[in-house]
Every structure is written in C-alpha cells, then in structure tokens.
C-alpha cells in the first residue's frame, strides 16, 4: 500500500496534458480497420495452432482428391487381370527393402523335376525361378487329398459304399502298356505273386467283405481270387483260383460288399513281385491308384466313392518379385492376326525374326526389345476360299505389349482388378467429398427453409412442424434404408434417400433456434414498422445474423454424411464399382472409400494394404474434417468452445 501511494505522489499534475488540447473535436476516422464478424472469427480461428494444422491437412486432402485423379497417369479405369493384387512399390523405400513389390506365396505345389540337387529345394512349375527370392524359398510337406494332382504322393485310397447300395468296385485300367496304368502280369514259373496292402478295413455290417478279382485270360470272366474282412498285408497267389493257369495278364478289380455306408476300406498299395528282381514289377499306390476307375453303373445296387486320403505333397513358400513376374513374359494362347500385324508395323525397326527350326515356318523368335518374344505356331486356322484366317500362339512381354516403358511404381499396390490403388483412393475420396458437400447442400436448403418458417411464424405452425420433424427424426436409418432398398434397389437413390431423410433435421433445428433468438430484436421491429414483408425480414435481417451458427452446423454435418455414405457403400447398399453418379451434370465414378474397403474385406490375410491405405485416408479425412468444423464453430461462437 505504501509503495502505491509513493507512486501516486511521484506523478505530479505537470506530467499530464490533454490529448486534444487546443483541437476541435470532430468525428475522426478509425485509425485501425474495423473488424467485422467474419474477420473476428478468422482471427480466433488462426489462434488455435492444432486446428490450423488440421485444416491445412484437410486442404491438402481435398486438393489431392481434385488433382491426383487428373494428374496421375496410372490406370484406374480398365481391368488388367494380370496386374491384380500387386503389393505396394514405392520408389525410394524399395531400395531399402520396404514396399519393394515382393509378394509372399505359400502352399505352392512343387514341381518335382525342378528340385535343385545342391540345395534340395524345388519350385512350383507356374513360377519361373528368376522371379523367386531364393533366400526365402522353403520346402515342406503338407497333406493332400487331391486325386488329380500327380505331385500328391503316398497315402491311401478309400473305397466306401453309397447309402442304399450294397457294393462298389474299382478296377485298374485295361490294355494300355504305355502309360502307368498297365496290366498286372505274373507267372507261376517266376513265382510271381500279388502283394496287397490294406491299411484299414472298417466293417460294421456282419456280412461285409472285401474281395479281389482277376481274369484268367485277357477277355475272360472276373474270378474271385481273394477275400478278407481284416486289414493287413496279404500275398496272393491266384493261379489255383483262376483254374490252374500258369501266367496271368489281367486287370485287377477290388470290391467292397457292405450295406453300411459308414464302412470303408483304406487301400495302400497293390504290387506284383517275382523272383527275378527285388523291385516290384507292378506298383499301384497313391496317385496311380487314384486312377483306378470306379464302376459307376454295374447294376442298381452298385455305387460308392473312391477318394485319396492322407497323401503328401511337397509344397514351397517364398517371396517373389510380383512386378517382374506380372510385367514379364507370358503366353497368349490366341492373338488375333490383326493385332499381330499392327504390332509388326509399329515395331518394324526392333522386331527381327530369328528362325528356331528352318523346317518349321510357324515357329520363330524375335530380337530383344520386341513385345513378342516367340511365336509358337498358328491356332484356329480356318480357310475360306483363298484366304486363311488364324490366330497366333505366342509368348509375349506383358510390359511391352501393354505400353509400359518400364515397370511402374504402384505406390499403394493394385486392386483385385489390376487398377492403381493410389489413384482409386483419391478418386474415392473425391466421390465421398462431393457426395458429402452435395448432400449437405440439399440438407441445408431444406433445413434452412423449414427451420426459418417454423421459427419465424411460431405458434401453431411451429408446433405442427416441430412434431413432424420429431417423428421424421425418430425414424431409424434401418427403416429408411429398407424402404428405399425395396422400392429402388441398392444404389444412389437409396443412398441419397437415407442421407437426406434424416439429414435436414439438425439444420432445421439450429435455424429455428436462431430465428427465435433474433426475430424479436429491435432492428427487426424497426424494419417491420417501415413496411418490410416477411421475405425481406427473413432473408435480409434475421438469416444473416444467424448465418455463422448455421454454417458451422452445416460443415460439421459433412463428415457425418461421409460416415454414413461409406458405411452404406461398405455394406453394399450404396454405390459400387461400375456405377456412375450423375448429379447436376457432374459425373462421378461409383468408387468411394467404403467400396474400396469392402473390396479389401476378403483379402485381409495376404493383401492387408487393400484395407490399410483406404482406412488411413478416410481416418485422416474424418479427423481433420471434424477438427476443422470444431475450430470453425469455436471461432464463430466462442461461447460454445470445448463443448459438444
């Protein structure tokens, strides 16, 4: 206290003078510029650095969604099935081994002829070795039950009877000495015998039995040579049973007789041995035996199944260069002659023919740099009159054939239709944003008019309109959705319907509140006294004063619209691939972020990038949009800061 007094004492009246001493007082112009409503809001907006940052990112996303679909030269329209599901490949990162376009393949059946004697590792026949990252190559055994797969070795074959049938046969193939399906041949002179290995015999029917038949001569009748009701390894000498023949050249027939469909026999192998060699002279097991054919309609009591069981297959897993593979060489089974001729004209300088075999005029290769690597021959030759119509069977380079000068970088990989995901995402964002803006615009138009009428007139009009909007607002989106889907089917009508039916109510409520707030003010009264009509009062006096709140509500509703739109599209009720939206002359593709996420849903294991990137972008969009909207609301209406 003492200090302050001293200060006061120190300031003597002489130190003061009047500012306008000796001047006349006129109205003076403001030295600073006046700060209007919007400028004031702008200043407040710029104060919050986080929100400004979010708004800048939002701006970049919007800019990207406009520019990238126009500027990107990548393909996002045409299907290229060979380029489907390519992983991301990003220029600088690729050199460090991240996002380098390598893809993991698992469970690929190894072609046994490719096994490298040094490493003992084999690769599948479908994948040329130059694309495989060899240090990641692993081989392992896995079980298989595929009777058509030659690499599936070992295991048993199961024979069982159908329901309401009493027996089932399988037979080895008849006269065909060239293939593996040959006749069993054994003779008494060399002590030949058949060795039958039955791994399991599950019989519940008491009369059930497993029989083996042979033929005494090539065209003789089937004769029973052996039967059993228990599993085991059996040596069969069939000479006596066949009536004393000394040599047997026969197919073999195996029969399961039972009335229970749950009965089954697991046959491991059928071999024939003699005393001239250690090795079996005949061997049927696993894959070979699966090609014993099942007699389907011997009679009405016959029928059953013949299946592989517990076979083993050598499988490989590895990383391979998906880009080099996709853009590498591939066989075109039938290239139309016209396309071939056009290519020959276009690449006349680089394509020079090298004959592989001078005797074969239809088989030749081309020099390097030519899109066609090799012509394998003509197919589908049709001669009409003097002209010959045909196509070429060729090996071509995919990149050169489709006009890629070098292997492109698909930053986010490609979709299931071979389109560039990076471009698709931005196209999707553009669609989502435009939809959001358009739907919000419609909602604002309806909401402002409705709210203005309701708020301005008040009384019974207000009461009725309020009840109406309350009822409409209470309709769950599921009800609106089901009505629109049933009447119009999934698509843009349903989408707009669901978005608009419940969308305008928020804006109407805000507008109504604003009208209640301002309609009793003096300037409105003054204007009315001067003779202004309802329209003038609403649009010139009341609405401009409440516009800030209305704008912020509207902008805050855009992310909500995008939210609903992506959800509906994800569920398959909104827009989708192949559809186009026509709105006021604008043409939008049917791809939105929701559609892209829906595509990625079934590929979560091996192609997670199909989900990660769209999810990331929509998250960024929604977060920044909400922050921008909140910042705007805080700026226009500081009293609401921090609340909902």
């Amino acid at each position: 206290m003492e200090d302050k007094k001293q200060v006061h004492e120190f300031l003597s009246p002489e130190n003061f003078e009047f500012v306008q001493m000796g001047e006349k007082i006129y109205d003076k112009k403001f030295e600073t510029k006046p700060i209007g409503y919007f400028k004031d809001a702008m200043i407040r907006f710029a104060k919050n650095k986080t929100n400004v940052f979010a708004s800048i990112i939002l701006g970049l996303v919007i800019l990207g969604s406009i520019l990238i679909p126009i500027l990107s030269t990548k393909n996002a329209e045409v299907q290229e099935s060979r380029l489907a599901y390519l992983p991301p490949r990003i220029p600088v990162l690729a050199d460090w081994g991240i996002a380098d376009g390598f893809k993991y393949l698992d469970n690929q059946v190894v072609d046994l002829s490719t096994i490298d004697p040094e490493t003992g590792l084999g690769i599948p026949a479908t994948m040329p070795i130059e694309y495989i990252k060899l240090d990641t190559l692993e081989n392992y055994y896995t079980t298989c039950n595929d009777s058509t797969n030659q690499s599936c070795v070992g295991g048993d074959n199961i024979l069982s009877v159908d329901v309401n049938r009493t027996h089932v046969y399988v037979e080895s193939s008849s006269v065909d000495a060239i293939s593996t399906y040959q006749l069993l041949s054994l003779s008494q002179a060399t002590e030949g015998y058949i060795k039958l290995d039955i791994a399991q015999l599950n019989l519940t029917d008491e009369n059930a039995v497993f029989n083996v038949y042979l033929k005494p001569t090539l065209f003789g009748a089937w004769t029973l040579v052996f039967s059993t009701t228990e599993a085991g390894v059996f040596d069969i000498s069939p000479y006596e049973a066949l009536g004393g023949v000394a040599t047997v050249n026969s197919q073999i027939r195996m029969e399961l007789v039972t009335t229970e469909s749950s009965d089954s026999v697991y046959i491991h192998s059928v071999e024939v041995y003699n005393n001239t060699q250690e090795e079996p002279v005949y061997l049927a097991t696993g894959y070979n035996m699966a090609h014993f054919y099942k007699l389907v309609t011997v009679d009405e009591f016959s029928g059953g199944t013949w299946n592989r069981y517990n076979g083993q297959v050598l499988a490989a897993r590895f990383y391979y260069d998906a880009y080099a593979y996709a853009f590498g060489d591939y066989t075109i089974p039938a290239l139309p002659r016209s396309t071939y001729d056009a290519l020959m004209i276009e690449y006349a300088d680089t394509c020079t023919v090298n004959w592989v075999d001078p005797a074969d005029p239809n088989h030749y290769t081309f020099t390097e740099g030519c899109p066609i690597i090799e012509v394998l021959g003509k197919v589908g030759v049709v001669v009409v009159g003097d002209t010959e119509y045909f196509s070429y069977r060729i090996v071509a380079n995919y990149g050169l054939m489709n006009g890629y000068d070098e292997i492109p970088y698909f930053l986010f990989g490609t979709s299931g239709t071979g389109k560039d995901l990076f471009k698709l995402i931005w196209i999707g964002t553009r669609t989502s944003l435009l939809l959001g803006v358009l739907v919000s615009a419609v909602n604002i138009a309806i909401g402002v008019v409705y709210g203005a009428i309701s708020g301005y007139y008040g009384g019974n009009v207000d009461l009725i309109m309020q009840r109406f909007s309350e009822i409409v607002g209470r309709i769950p989106w599921l009800v609106t959705l089901s009505i629109f889907i049933a009447l119009y089917g999934p698509g843009q009508v349903a989408l707009f319907g669901v978005l608009i039916i419940s969308g305008w109510i928020g804006v109407a409520g805000v507008t109504r509140t604003q009208f209640y707030r301002y309609k009793g003010r003096e300037y409105v009264l003054a204007s009315r006294t001067l003779g202004a009509g309802d329209g003038r009062l609403i649009f010139r006096h009341i609405l401009p004063n409440g516009i800030g709140t209305i704008i912020t509500t509207s902008i805050l509703s855009i992310p909500g619209v995008i939210f609903t739109e992506s959800t509906l599209s994800y569920l398959g009720f909104g827009i989708g691939h192949g559809t186009t939206l026509h709105i006021f002359g604008l043409e939008l593709t049917g791809v939105s972020i929701g559609v892209l996420l829906s595509d990625g849903r079934n590929r979560l294991l091996y192609e997670p990038y199909l989900t990660v990137f769209p999810a990331l972008l929509i998250s960024i969009l929604m977060i920044t949009f909400n922050m921008f909207g909140n910042a705007l609301r805080d700026a226009f209406n500081p009293a609401l800061r921090g609340s909902e």
């Binding site: 309350e470 009822i471 209470r474 309709i475 769950p476 989106w477 599921l478 009800v479 959705l481 089901s482 009505i483 889907i485 049933a486 009447l487 089917g489 999934p490 992310p559 939210f563 992506s566 959800t567 994800y570 569920l571 009720f573 996420l597 990625g600 849903r601 979560l604 294991l605 997670p608 989900t611 990660v612 999810a615 929509i618 998250s619 929604m622 977060i623 949009f625 909400n626 922050m627 921090g642 609340s643 909902e644």
Partner: protein, 356 residues
Amino acid sequence: MFKYILVRTGFIFVVLIIILSMNFLFLKLAPEYPPANEDQKNSWLVQQYTRGYKDMWLETEDLTILAMREQEIVVPNNAYFRDEESQYRIYAPVPISRQYYIWAYNIITEWDWGVSTRLWVNMPAFTVLATRMPVTLKLNFLALFVYIPLGFGLGILAALKKNKWQDNAISLGVMIFISIPNFVIMTVLVMTFGFQLEWLPRQYPAQYIEGWIQIKALVLPVLGLSFGAIAGLTRLTRAEITEVLTSEFLLLARTKGLTRAQATVRHAMRNSMVPLVPTVIGSFVGLLGGSVVIERIYGIPGTGTVFIQSLTRNAYDYNVILVSTAFYTTIGLIAILLVDMSYGIVDPRIRMGARK
C-alpha cells in the same frame, strides 16, 4: 409427473405406430418376392390365403382356361396362378388397406408377424429374429459394461488433469476415435488381431464350438462397438466436469474445508451426472445401430445379420425386414422415453411437464 409420463408414452406409442405402418405400406408397394422353390411357394400361397392376405378362386370354365393358357386373358396384376389341368387356381392380393388391417390384427391378437419368404422359408418371421436376439443383446450389453466405466474414467481423468499431457493425450484419442467410422475400426482390428497377429478368432465361431474360443471371439466385436462410444462419453464427461469444477458451489465446498477429492466426488460428479445419465441410456441405441455393421464384418449371427440378409438384392424378405425394423425402432423409442424421464429422476430441479 404421472400425467407427463403418460403423455410421453402415448406420443412415443403414436410415433411407433406411424413408423411401423409407414414401413408396412411402403414395402407393400414394392414388388413381392415369394419363396423361390415351387413347393414352398405353394405352401406360402395357401398360408397367405388362409390368413386373408390373398383371395383365391378357381376358374373352371374350359374356354376361359384355354384363353388363359393362350394368354389371351391376362391374369390380374400381382396375382399368382396355378394351372391344374381341369381348373385354374388364382391367388390375387386383397387391397393394401385390408392387408394392413389383417396384419395389425394378427400382431395384436396373436403376435403373428407373418412368415419368412426367403431366409428361413415359411418360418414365422418373429422366430427368425428371436433366435438371433440373444447374441446381439449379449454383445451390446457387454459393450455397455465396457464403455461406461472407461468413458467416465477417462473423462474424469481428463477434466481433473485439464491442459496437462494426460488431458491432451485423451483429447487426441477422443478426436481420433470419434471421427473414424466404426466399420473401419472393426476391419483394422480384425486384420491386426485376427489375421496378422492371429491372437483372436478371425470370425465369430459357430455355436457348437465351445469354451475358450467363444469368449475370445467376443473381444473384437465388443471393442469395435465401444471405441466410438467411449470417445463420445469421454468428451461429454470431460466437458461437464470441467464446467462444474469452475462453478461457485465447488469453491464454497473447498472453502468449507473439503479436500479436492471430497469436493470432486461429492459435488462435482453428482452435478455432472445430470446430462450424462440420459446420454448413456441413449447411447444404447447408437450401439445397437452400429452393431449391424460390426455383425456383418465379424460374421456374427445376430439380428443385424438377419436384417442385412433379408435385404439381399432381389430376394427381399419383407416380413423379416418388418419385424427386425420393428425391433430396432421399439428399442430406440423406449430408450428415448427413458432419456426423457431420467432427467427428472436424476435432477429434481427439472420438473417434468411443467408449464412456463
């Protein structure tokens, strides 16, 4: 108070009837999708006739039958017919107003919502829905129990540590999770924990699989359902408590000698409950709506899945649609009613139905 409750209940009831009737009428305007299988279709037609939705008559005049076979006489619009050699059996719908009356009468007297035409053919539609209800309700209540304590806890923490790092971290998380659509969160969760890390099932297991897997399978859908709700509740709690903490009665409490903890628990929390309790009740509807998408992603056989399946393109199952929308609408409206009433119970200052 009693009168207010009565009026509100009445109003909600009227809204419910309006919504359901509107749904019925609009769906009746859409083309019908009877069962695809011929036998099932016949059985369905007979049921439709016995219930009174369709009129049935026999055409026995030889000449007329011949003309119908030759398609000279066209069978009336929307009608079904069966050529039975000597006679023509025709099923034609009765006017929609009559159908509406029968529909409403059957529901009120026998709780009969009609039969399913595509999903589980000729099963009562309500049975179809009722068998799926337990899963959905289990998930939603679990989510409710997860999200309420977490939302309150984080909100209170953020308010007490206002403008410190804890508050900033929580606010950032709130901003993120409130913005991202829940199907995106769910997809990313399934991808991460189901497919990439393989910690949790990738899909909701079938009912016969028992034990540990059934419990593990609840984790992802409950998380997917509650993330957004937690964020919303946290933000609201924070805002409310912040406001109460700066009020004068709290300052008075502190000056009386209460500790900060006492003041917060006894005065701040109670007062901030007023807008929070109704929000929590109302949020159940939000959870239920969100669970439609979550069920779809995780393959949960709940009411949402039934609804989506009954809306399969060009195989619409209207009775199932009607009963499932009725389910969602009723729960939604009851929640709104509870919200309205809870204001008066939580805060005695609010006198319900009071005139100005």
